[in-house]
Every structure is written in C-alpha cells, then in structure tokens.
Symmetry: C2
Subunit: 397 residues, 2 copies
C-alpha cells in the first residue's frame, strides 16, 4: 500500500466532490444543461478573479492561457515590458520572442519581487510599450509581486497590465478590477482545486481594444471567437466538458467558504510551513514570500534531487525542487487550493524523516511542533487589506 500526497505547486489535490462531478456521464457542450453549468462557472470565476469583466475559458494548460494573451494583445514588432522574478516571468519573454515582439526585461534577483520603482522607470523609458507582462505568485522562487503597485503604475500609461495569476488565483489576495489588472490568466489545477486542462482569462475594456487591433495570427486562441460564442453560452470548439463540471463544484466550494476565508487560510498555512521549516534549520528563500507555496534553501552539501526522489519514492510525498539554476539548491512546498493544516504536517514530517535518512539529523517532530504552535495561535492581520466583494459574479447587463 502506498498513499500519495501531492504537495506540489500544481497539479494540486482536488476535493472528492469535484472528482465525482467530473466523472459523471459526459454532457454535450451545446445543450441547455451544459450551458447552465458553463455560465455558473464563468460567474464563479468572475468572483474568484474579483472582476466584473468578461472571463474566457480555454481548454489548455496555463501556458496556453499565457500564449493566448500574447497573440490576442500584440502584433509582430510591438514592444512590451516583462517584469520578471523567476522562471515563469521569463516564460513571458520566451512567448513574446516566439511571436516576434520586442521586450524590455525588468528582472528581479531570483527570490526577490520586482521593485515597483524599477517598473515605473521602465514604463517611463518605453512609452511605446503596449503591455507589461508579470507574475503574481512566482512559484519558481516562492515570491509574490506587488500587483497593486504595478497596477497603479501601468494604469496611468497607455500599456495594459497582464498578470500570470495561474498559481495565485484562489489562494493569494488578488483584486483584478480594483488593482487595475487588464488581463489576468489563471489555470484550473492550483487554487481552483480542479484537474489540470483548463485556463481562464479575465479581460478589461482597455485590453479588448488591443484584442480588436492585434495582428498576431490566431485561431484556437482567438478571444473574438470566444466572446461571440459566449452569447450562446458556448465555446467555439469542444471544451473539456468533464473538467468544467468538476470546476463548477470547486467554484461552489470557493463561493461557500468565501475568498476572505480562503486567503486567510492560505496565510495561516504559509505561516505554519515557514515556522516548521525554520525549526528544521532551512532559511526562507523568498522575500517577500507568497502564501501559496514556501521555498527554502537546503543545507550546503545536501543533494536536493536525492531528497525529492526519496520523499516521492519512499514516502509517497511529492514536493517540488528548484528549477534551472536553483535545481538541487531549494525545495518548494505548496499549500494552495485543497490543502489544509494536516497537509502541512505531512510535508514537515516527511522532511524530518527523509533528512534523518540522508544523514542530516533533525530532532524528530521539531518542525511539526513549530507548525502546530502557529496553527494554535490567534490569527494575525498584518496589513491593511482590500476586502473581497461578494457582488462580483452576477453577469453585468
């Protein structure tokens, strides 16, 4: 017998209710029954994005959603700014390059967020830039970018702000409309607690103007076709029906808990994970750290790849290692979506045992104990926050 524990930053575990809905007999995508679920999903997504604007649904991974933003907003030869703090920030640069779009990179040291002042400088230096591409929670480093500050800057320019919120949505506080995010991209398999295979895009009126004028070639990704089909409660091409049925259930759970509660839960789990890892002597890698996953440095000399393999193959616990230049140097534990306090304890317990086996002895239970102490303490509200609005979701008439 081997039980599997998924503590990776996507795909993440899904609620059994979601699995059941996704496994019901397939509905045809051009029926009233499916149309009603599709509309419900779009409304649930609007609430989760905190937007009144149109949300589109794509059958693809999150990267497909990112590519769709590039080809719908820009034309070959256009200029864009990429505000990057890791692997996923740099993916924007690769996508732009593939489509012949010039880009200026505002790059944070890995483990750090992009400095809003540097972004402001780049926006000033490049008045020709049509778009600024960035990442909300950068899962490669565990950092969170200050999207609210970015929105304040970009909002006052001609450019649109495009945010990869794939790993953050439904976990880390995000106010698409209030923070002036013009295009937010998300995926089904992270905070939204559904299987991978769906991507979503929320699009502001300012961004729609670019969609209408962009000349990059597109068909499958064409937002104009998707918008047309919305009036029929449909998608232009056969969508991943079963995943949408599952997502509908996850969005019901999100609505029931409420975003405020969900954001607070992620903060608690993040605090408990950080305390546990600190007790194991592992320093936090990211500053400022996001609340959907925690990245920590490994002790010098420890074989990080072997640790990940041991956790996965011996303990059945999947966590993530470092990517690219961080491979073997950091580990990343997710606490996003359908994860609770016991997932945190499982991750810490598995690390304690695997560390001992790899000859890096730790006091058994010391990480778990530190996490439990945080979980038992009263919640802290450390900063002024924008409350989530219940009113998003109903279709604007």
């Amino acid at each position: 017998m081997k039980k599997y524990y998924l503590l990776t930053p996507g795909p993440t575990p899904i609620p059994p209710e979601t699995a059941v809905q996704a496994s019901l007999p397939i509905l045809h995508h051009r029926t009233h029954e499916f149309g009603a679920v599709f509309v419900e999903v779009l409304e649930g997504l609007k609430y989760t994005f905190q937007t009144q604007q149109e949300v589109l649904l794509l059958t693809s991974s999150g990267t497909g959603g990112m590519e769709s933003a590039v080809v719908n907003l820009l034309s070959p030869g256009d200029h864009a700014i990429v505000a990057s703090s890791g692997v996923f920030g740099e993916r924007w640069g690769k996508l732009l390059e593939a489509y012949g779009i010039q880009s200026s990179l505002v790059r944070a040291e890995w483990g750090r967020a992009v400095d809003p002042e540097q972004l402001a400088h780049a926006v000033k230096q490049h008045p020709e830039a049509k778009a600024v591409f960035t990442t909300h929670t950068e899962t490669s480093t565990g950092v969170v970018n200050d999207i609210q500050a970015f929105g304040d800057i970009v909002h006052r320019s001609k450019a649109v702000l495009v945010v990869d919120a794939i790993s953050g949505l439904g976990g880390e506080e995000l106010h698409t409309d209030a923070w002036h995010v013009d295009v937010a991209v998300a995926g089904s398999q992270k905070g939204l607690m559904a299987p991978p295979g769906l991507a979503f895009v929320a699009i502001s009126p300012k961004a729609w103007q670019l969609v209408e004028s962009a000349r990059s070639p597109r068909c499958y990704w064409d937002y104009r076709l998707m918008k047309q089909s919305l009036s029929e409660k449909e998608t232009p091409f056969t969508p991943a029906v079963s995943l949408i049925m599952g997502l509908a259930e996850s969005l019901r759970l999100i609505r029931k808990d409420g975003l405020e509660t969900i954001w607070q839960r992620h903060i608690r789990l993040a605090e408990a994970t950080r305390a546990g890892l600190k007790a194991l002597g592992l320093p936090l890698f990211a500053d400022p750290p996001c609340h959907v996953l925690t990245a920590v440095r490994l002790p010098a000399g420890m074989d990080g790849k072997r640790l990940i393999r041991s956790l996965r193959d011996t303990y059945g616990v999947s966590i993530a290692g470092g990517q690219e230049s961080l491979a073997g140097k950091i580990i990343r534990l997710a606490h996003m979506g359908y994860m609770d306090r016991f997932d945190v304890l499982v991750g810490l317990g598995a690390l304690e045992m695997a560390f001992s086996e790899l000859g890096y002895p730790v006091t058994p239970g010391c990480g778990v104990a530190a996490a439990e102490r945080v979980l038992l303490s009263p919640p802290t509200h450390s900063k002024e926050r924008t409350p989530a609005r219940q009113s998003y979701g109903p279709r604007p008439k």
Copy 2:
C-alpha cells in the same frame, strides 16, 4: 428523472471504467507513476493510429491539434492544398488563412467525398504545395474520404499528407503508416472513448523535416519541445493528467477488443442505423457514407431544429443537426466509440416518437425493426481490407 443519451459525433459517452480512472486522485505529471501511464498511452495511440512513428499528446480540443499541424509544418507565404468535403475540411482553410498560408481548395459537393483524381490534378498543378490537408470522416456530412488513395497520390509528391482523423480514429479503418499519412490528428472524445480535452498527432519522418524548417510562430504547439520532453516521459507543460489516466483505460479496452473487431462493430452499427432510417423514409445524405455517423435528409417541410430540440429536451436524446447551409435539413446520428446496438435502437425509437409528435406519423417500431434485422443477419465483408497489425505500439528502438 431524466436519463441522457449522447448520440452526437463528439463528445461521445465514455466507459464507466474510464470515468473511474479519470476520477482517481491527481498524480503529479513528473513522477515515475505518471510517466509509466503516459508511455502506455502513447503506445496505445500508436496501435490505434497504426503507426511506428512518434505520437505527441496535446492538452487542447481537436481543433488545437489541427492548428498545431499548420504552425509546425508551414511558414507564412507557403502554399498548401485543402481537399475538403464539408465544415471540417473548410476549417483547414480557415486555419491556413489565419497563419498567412496560401491554399488551393479541392472541394467536393457536400455529401460527397473528394475525388482522388481531382486531388491528383491539384497536386500536379501545384508542385510548390508543401502539404495537403484533408479529413478522414467528415462529420458535418457523414462522408468518408479515400485516405488510402490520397496517400498514394501525395506520397509521390514533395508534399506531406495531413489528415484530420479526429472523428474517425478508433472507429473507421485507418492505417497511418501503410496509407502514407504523414500527419494524423485525433481527439480524445470520439472513437477513443475518453472525455474531451486531449488531442494527438502522429508524425512521419517526411513531416518532421518540415517541422524543423517551419517558421510559423509557436510555443504551446511546438512539436520540437514536445519531442524533447518525450525522452523524460513528460510533456513540456502540465498536461490534463486526469484525462490521460482515463484515456489509458479506454486504450486498454481498445487493445483488448482489437481494431479489427472495433472497425467491424462500427460497420454493423452503421448498417443497422442506415436500415432503420431508410425504413423511416429518410434518405442517406452521404455517398460514400462513413461508419462512425449517419447523416440523413429530413422530409421537406419538417423543422429540423425543432426536431433536435424535442429529442433533446423531451426525450433526453442528443443527436446532431446540420451545420451551416445544412442547418435544419439533415440530422446526424453518431455510432462511434462507446456505443453499441442499443444506442442505435434508442436513437431510432426516439426519432419514431418525436416524428409522430411533430405530425410526421411513422409506423411505431418500423425503424427499430429494420435495424434489428440487420443486427441479426450475418456480417458482410464487402471489400478487400488491410488487416490491423498487432505489432504497432512497442516503441521503435
């Protein structure tokens, strides 16, 4: 209580075994466990395509698979030939246009297959054409194109043959390698008996040469990235894990039955459906008809859209109407994938009752009776056939 019957040409019903596998806890896509299933799926697809060549898996609808073929094979300004016999043939033309590729259209009258001689003429007239795009079973009209003859023609030219086998694969006889198909595109939600959301592409060495030299922009669709990841038993981006787990089970069922048996079953169901509809006075629309769905003309004056609605809303039976210029004039009943003799009887019984209600009286049971007579008769083998090879599937070394 309302039971739903899905008799549409995609999405189609899925076996309960497939639904169960797709609803198991999510595996991470970069683990041994998932890698083993992924390899098994690719081997099962090779058998179903009847190819020794590399098969790639995409998280998208079938149209995404079609678009991937266009952007991986061709460059802006290239020339291509489209051999079209309906809506899906013309979709190739739209995709090519979106990517700035010139195309010559060899168009069959809707309801007819493309004449191989006309295709041969076009290939001769356009030696500059790099690719010929066509459709195996054209679900908009119910016709099947003679892919074997197309392969004989295109094989002798510089062009590659690209076949949309989305609705045909796993139902209608297809020998990708033996018939010289260079690129075959398929989807999960038809003959492959899995939920929608996955597309597949089989690629010949002749086509790989084009992939290496093509200059259309691409990232999510890039076959080169997918091929690189294959050596790690992975995909470049997070795939639709749960759909792949389900598909693995459907492919096990396909392998167990064997393609010969599956093709014969589709022939029987097609013959029974045609006999039943003929008994209801509905003439066959397609010549030659495919074996995965049957399209028939409606009686003059009958409101086809109302019929479809009545079947769907009153009887819970989803069938397809005509598309574009055929809207309201024909109906299409699928018998593909996870459908058996009783699905045929349900479709005919529902039509008999709905016809009577719409004031077009038919003798109750006459269509069903005609279908049963076919199902009880000994099977006919009307033409020389290429046997399916069991040997496809093991990875070529």
